[in-house]
Symmetry: C2
Subunit: 238 residues, 2 copies
DNA sequence: CGCCAGATTGAACCCACTCAATACCGGTGG
DNA sequence: CCACCGGTATTGAGTGGGTTCAATCTGGCG
């Protein structure tokens, strides 16, 4: 048994509340939703494991995640596949296809979710000031990718898992959730795929970190017990 | 001894010729240089191993590579480093810093080179139609990064080296150079860093590919002998 | 209850890494 | 001219971390 914070058993609950205030909204990134809330945007609800779009499909819009948990992945012609990121509320989906007529990745809901559709035309005509924000979002994705490339190339298996957990905790916190009681929505295989590890290796890493007393693991429920210790493992400042 | 095509001993020669016509310029990507050639842009010449900019420095401009061979790299606080790409003529440097006041990576010339400086102000005021191209370039970088993440995560050492060589050959060809007689400008250590391999592993891969008759290797001169065979090794269509 | 996808754990294996020695190559100075 | 030198490249031998293969366990769900 594991004493996981019950408030996060279903993180979708608070997310689906559209009137929910975001007290900690960062001034540096004024809310995208506020910017487009007045527009008549189509909203799309997704079921768990449903595709939002697939690579190669023609691209009509960007999608702002309003609720839920998504993954994006790319695949090679011979079937190799790689998850390029896990996406949360506030993230934009479809950015990678800009400048192309079709999508460059698959986007899949890992849970029920909702996205706001921002059609290409609206982007051009109604949201000129949005352009700058768009380039910033794209550049941020590049920097994020580079940080992961650095991690994959220079860290061992356990360190990668730790890096993921710390990053995930930080993102959850910035959305107003606990930064210590995490609920992973992806399988070990998906997590391993993202970290360029096999699922058994992910399991072993988690088990070992639990044995060290730094985590409490119960399936997809993860409780971070020693943030400082984890930070130290990956060379981050305390 | 190795019969490397002598015309490419010094690829800078044709690149530095500003009046050089580009017969094969793709209509899909009308020349960036043409777009900005009329503007009074500052040009900066770099010596080999000179930094164009460093991560953290304040960001005044984008840089279009007009000649030469660059690498970009990111580093962690504890000294781990990763090369994020090798950049050629026509590539933009500094894209990753958009939306930030400082650069997010190091940009280093691996050879003498020249860049055209596109100040932030010019971007905003003089080149409105440039915005769309900018987002397209950013998205393209993301797709590129994702393809490499896929390669790193799913391919073995030798396959990664092959993937790099095929990609490099294609880029050189699109610039008007031979796609079979390649002159690498980076060390084995740098190539290994980019591919998340150790330099000895890169050397071994090259040696083995040479033994198989698919390459001829002489230091940084590489001659591709069996493109189809190499493609087959990485699951690419012939 | 039975089923099945997901998670865990163990044991053997293998690919890439590490350590080390040697060769090479361009430049520099005696 | 050659001897020397530092940086780079190559090759070998041994090691190890992550994979592979396989067995077991768990929990949700029809």
């Amino acid at each position: 048994m594991l004493d996981v914070h019950p408030a996060h058993d279903d993180p979708l609950q608070p997310l689906l509340d559209e009137d929910r205030q975001r007290p900690g909204a960062l001034p540096a990134t004024p809310d995208l939703e506020a910017l487009i809330a007045g527009l008549p945007l189509r909203r799309r609800k997704l079921k768990a494991r449903e595709y939002l779009f697939r690579a190669g499909e023609s691209r009509h819009a960007l999608y702002l995640i309003h609720a839920g948990f998504f993954k994006t992945s790319v695949a090679s012609e011979d079937g190799r596949e790689k998850i390029t990121g896990f996406r949360l509320r506030g993230d934009l989906l479809g950015l990678d296809g800009l400048g192309m007529s079709s999508h460059a990745c698959d986007a899949i809901a890992l849970d029920v979710g909702e996205v706001w559709e921002i059609p290409n035309g609206v982007l051009r005509d109604r949201l000129p000031q949005f352009q700058e924000r768009l380039t910033a979002a794209l550049a941020a994705e590049i920097r994020r990718d580079w940080r992961w490339m650095l991690a994959m190339g220079t860290l061992g298996a356990e360190q990668r898992v730790v890096t993921f957990l710390l990053d995930f905790a930080e993102r959850m916190q910035s959305l107003g959730f606990s930064s210590t009681h995490l609920m992973l929505r992806m399988t070990r295989a998906e997590l391993g795929n993202f970290l360029s590890l096999k699922l058994e290796t992910v399991t072993r890493a988690l088990s070992h970190l639990q044995a060290c007393g730094m985590l409490a693991v119960d399936g997809r429920q993860i409780c971070i017990r020693d943030t400082a210790g984890l930070r130290a493992m990956v060379g981050e400042p305390a």
